[in-house]
Every structure is written in C-alpha cells, then in structure tokens.
Symmetry: C2
Subunit: 313 residues, 2 copies
C-alpha cells in the first residue's frame, strides 16, 4: 500500500511510521519540520512495548506536486483549527483511486472534505493516544494508541479493513467500525469536557478536575450525548460512566488543548466545541454548559490574540 501522510506532528509521525513498519510505502508531506525530516527521518520513542524505532519515509515532500507516485491512501494528520486549509493540502496528492483518511479530533469535521472531493473514498479516524512531538522529527509516545476507522458517513470498505489490518500488524489496536460518526461523538464526550476545563482552569490535570468538579464534567457529557442522539447516533447508556471511571483510573493527564494553549498553538476549539454547539443549536437543544464553555474559550482566544498583537514592554 502506498501511503502519503500529511503532517509530521505527533499523530502523523507516529501512525505513519507504524504503517511503514507494517510494510507500506509511506511518504510524508512536512511543513515546518521539512528540513529535519528530509535529512534525518523521524525517531519514535514509545513508553509501551513498541519501544524505539526509526522511520525513513519513502519520500519527504514539501508539497504534493513533488510526489513521484500517487498514493492509495492519504492520511491527513493535521489539527482542525482555524486557518488550516485542509482541502488544498490534499488536492494535488489525489490520484483517481486515492482514499482520504482524516485522523483528527472533533465532530462534523468531514463534511467540507467530502464536499470538496465527492469522487473519493473518505475514511474517518480517531486516535486514542498520548503522544507528543518533542522536537522536529522526534515523537514521544507516552501511552495508549488505539485507533478507530470507518467510512464516512457510514459503512466499512475493503480498503478501510486493509488499513486497520496494517495498523494491527504494526502492533497497535485498530477497530474498523461501521459507525465512525457515533464513535466520534463518543470521543467528543471526553474532549468537550476535559479539554476546555483544563484550559479555563489555567492548567489543571484531568484528575484535579475530576476530584473537585465531576458533576460539571458529567453535565457537559450529558449535553454532548443529547446532541449525538438528536443526530441519530445514540451513544451507549453507560458511556458517560465509563468515561468518568476511565478518567479516574488514568494518571493525572494534561489534555491536548491545554498543551496547545501552553505552547501558544491554535486550539481545536471549533472542531470540538464549536461544531458540537452548532449541531446542538440546529437540533434546538438546550445546551447551556457547552454554550458557556464555547463562549469562554472564544473569549480566552480573543485575549490571547490581543496579547500576541501587543509585544510586552
């Protein structure tokens, strides 16, 4: 299988290198890390049984027009944040048979890509992982790693099954699901609660949040679950209990949005909260907790924008 990974951050570097390990021919489209990755490839250090390994991409390109071969699969591994033109990153890489895989957080993040490339198979994917890019071409895999893949808007193609099998062969769990949109909403339960709470609290870990404000986390999750149900994706009745219990068992964890905030990178506010709030409002649902969090995150982003415009004296 010929794969192009777009993005050499934590997610692209980690999962791309696993596909190469499993035998695929994996090229990468790098942006800020291009020089380093071209010269050195990508080094992965995992705290799990995967250990350490090195990934030398088949080709390292700065733009898709440099590719010598069209990929079977394009793995888009960039965060869905404002200003990221995902379609233009994909366009030049597409061959007639190329499938597109979206590996990112958030809900309702597929529609614009589906509309831009209606002839292409679209696979939506979720990564359940703690992984960080510590430097250009250096990936630190702390824990977890499971993937969920499924066709958008529903179903499960041969190619999706093949891709899942490839990830499994590389040593990472990958479930192929007929209902990836439901899985996306289920993941959003956790993300919509813990990501903004970690940022708005000024940097608390998941365990501190849960130790003192579990009812708030649950109230947020209830609203996400109601939105999913209104869209026809009934989440399992015990899904909130499971997420809360699972988080109690995790070590204290800094959410990805908090890491982005602390590093002054764009946050996935729109992909996670904005899209959920808009979906809830379309369905005329009462979602005051989500609306409050979303408004507060927009205020926080406005403040950060002001601070970045005015250099400190």
């Amino acid at each position: 299988m010929k794969v192009l990974v777009i993005g050499t951050g934590a997610i692209g570097g980690f999962y791309g290198s696993l596909l190469a390990k499993a035998g695929a021919s994996v090229s990468v489209l790098a942006r800020s890390d291009y020089g380093h990755v071209k010269a050195n490839g990508i080094a992965i250090t995992s705290e799990t049984k995967l250990g350490r390994w090195h990934f030398t991409p088949a080709q390292v390109v700065r733009s898709a027009s440099e590719l010598t071969e069209k990929p079977d699969v394009i793995l888009l591994c960039i965060k869905v944040v404002e200003g990221a033109d995902r379609a233009s990153l994909i366009r030049d890489a597409l061959g007639p048979e190329s499938a597109i895989v979206l590996l990112s957080n958030g809900v309702e993040i597929e529609d614009d890509i589906a509309a831009a490339f209606p002839e292409h198979e679209l696979i939506s994917g979720l990564a359940f992982i703690c992984v960080t890019r510590t430097a250009p071409g250096e990936i630190w895999h702390q824990a977890y790693g499971r993937l969920a893949l499924g066709n958008y808007p529903a179903g499960l193609s041969e190619r999706t099954r093949d891709l899942a099998a490839l990830f499994e062969r590389a040593g990472i769990g990958c479930s192929a699901t007929e209902a990836i949109v439901m899985a996306r909403w289920e993941k959003c339960l956790w993300n919509a609660a813990f990501n903004p709470l970690s940022v708005l609290s000024g940097g608390l870990s998941t365990s501190d949040i849960l130790a003192t404000q579990e009812p708030l986390a649950r109230a947020i999750m209830e609203e996400v679950s109601a939105i999913a149900a209104a869209l026809g994706h009934d989440l399992p009745p015990d899904c909130i209990d499971k997420q809360i219990d699972g988080t109690h068992k995790m070590p204290p964890y800094k959410t990805s949005m908090l890491l982005d905030f602390e590093a002054q990178r764009p946050m996935e506010t729109e992909a996670i909260l904005g899209n959920a709030v808009r979906a809830g409002q379309r369905a005329n649902l009462n979602i005051p907790h989500l609306e409050t969090l979303y408004a507060l995150m927009k205020l926080l982003e406005l403040k950060r924008e002001q601070d970045q415009q005015v250099p400190p004296a």
Copy 2:
C-alpha cells in the same frame, strides 16, 4: 457621629474619609497598612469633582480593643472572601448602641453577621464605584461612587437616613432604600456576569466581553434575576437591558475580581457566585450558566493554590 471604619483598602479609605469630610469623627482599624496609616493618614486622589484630599483618622488602631470610644456606627469595608472572620473583627468594637454597616459585594452576605449580633442594627450597603488602593494609605478614585444603604433584612431606620445624608453632604450620591436586598441582587446581575468572564477569559475588559459574548452575559443575568425573583425580590423588567446598555457606554473596564486575580489576592467568588448558586439551588432553579462559571472559578482557584504551593524552579 462616631464612626469606626474596619479596613483601609479602597472602599474603607474612600468612604471613611468622606464621612470625616462631612463632619463625623472617624477612626480606622487597619491591618497590613497600620504603620503607614498611623503615621501618615490616608491620601485620596479623585478624578471626579471631589478632587484631592487628605484624611487624618481620629484614631488608628490595629484591633478594636484599643479604641478609646465605642462607635455609633461600624463600617465594615473588607471583601467577603474565604478565611475572613468578619464577626471577630467587629465584636470588640461594639457598644450597646452601635450599628453595623456592611459595605461589600455579593449576595446573602448579611446572615452570619445578623446571627452573630442579633441585638444590633444591621445596615447593608452597596458601592457603585471604580476605586483602587494604589499603595498603603493611597486611594485612587477613578469614577462613579454612588452608594445604596438600607436596613437588613428590610426597612429604613433613622440612623440609616442620617448616614446617607452624611455621605450626600460629603458630595457623593447615597440612596437610602427600604429594599437593600433587592438592590444587592440587582448589583449581582452585573457582578456575576462580568467578574468571572473577565477572569476566566484571562483578563478581557468589559467592552471586549460585551462586543463578542453579549448573549452569554445576558443569559447569566437572566439566571440571577430568576433567583432574586424566587426569593421574593422581583427585579425591574428592564434591569438587564439597563445593565447591558450602561456597560456599553462605560469605558473598557477591568472588573474588581480581575484586579484581585492579577494581584493574586483572594477573589469574591463565594460572595458573588457561590452564594447566588446556593440560593438558586435551594429554590430548585435551573441555573446552568451560573453553575458552570462557579465551578470554573473554583477550578481556577485550585490551580492558583497549587501554583502558590510549588515555588517555580
């Protein structure tokens, strides 16, 4: 009239000095600023027509037991924050006829004082003012200054009218009201919205908050208004519009809670939000916006506590 002002911060220094200007004999109980105020009194600079003046208290004491005379009126001008034992500050100063005036933000802040001193007249007061203590014994009065005074839980005594007249004589508007608790809830509309939004946004001014998230500010105010109504204090139907319009007309303003947050001082989270939320919960009201803000403020305070315990490396 013999007055003891407890607290030589912005509120105590400003209003105490006005009573002295109007002819009262005003002593002060100072804590951290004792040495400076004892030696130098208090200097007030007002940007309004009040101009600049200097206030030499009749007596400056560190504790009420040092007072040579019992006051007719005790003006308690300290913020209602966790750890502040207001009753013990008052106790030794009380003569048999002393009235207690509480001049501070928040709702439901009278009950513990009323219970501790049931024989004493209790006057509740609100200050609508921008005033800052810039250094020990130095008060900067930026704008506004109106007071509202009334007996707790309701009514209007001769002494309250006299005190209001004294403030008026000193050049500051002071309305004496039979319904001070309602006035407190009306002020809480603004405080419960703009104080936490300014802090949780990381420091936005009122005008930035209002320019982008007016619906959230209104939703918070609606909940405060519903709580007040459930307690028998129906606020005027146009009160929210008036607060929003008034805030649009104000210059960009940093709330008092934001100033406290930035200076790492305790915030009036419990007096303003916690007491409002508890009152709403007692009345079985649906107040998700307030509950979310309150929970977020508690998380933020927890984070600050953690940061203060661990000195930076």
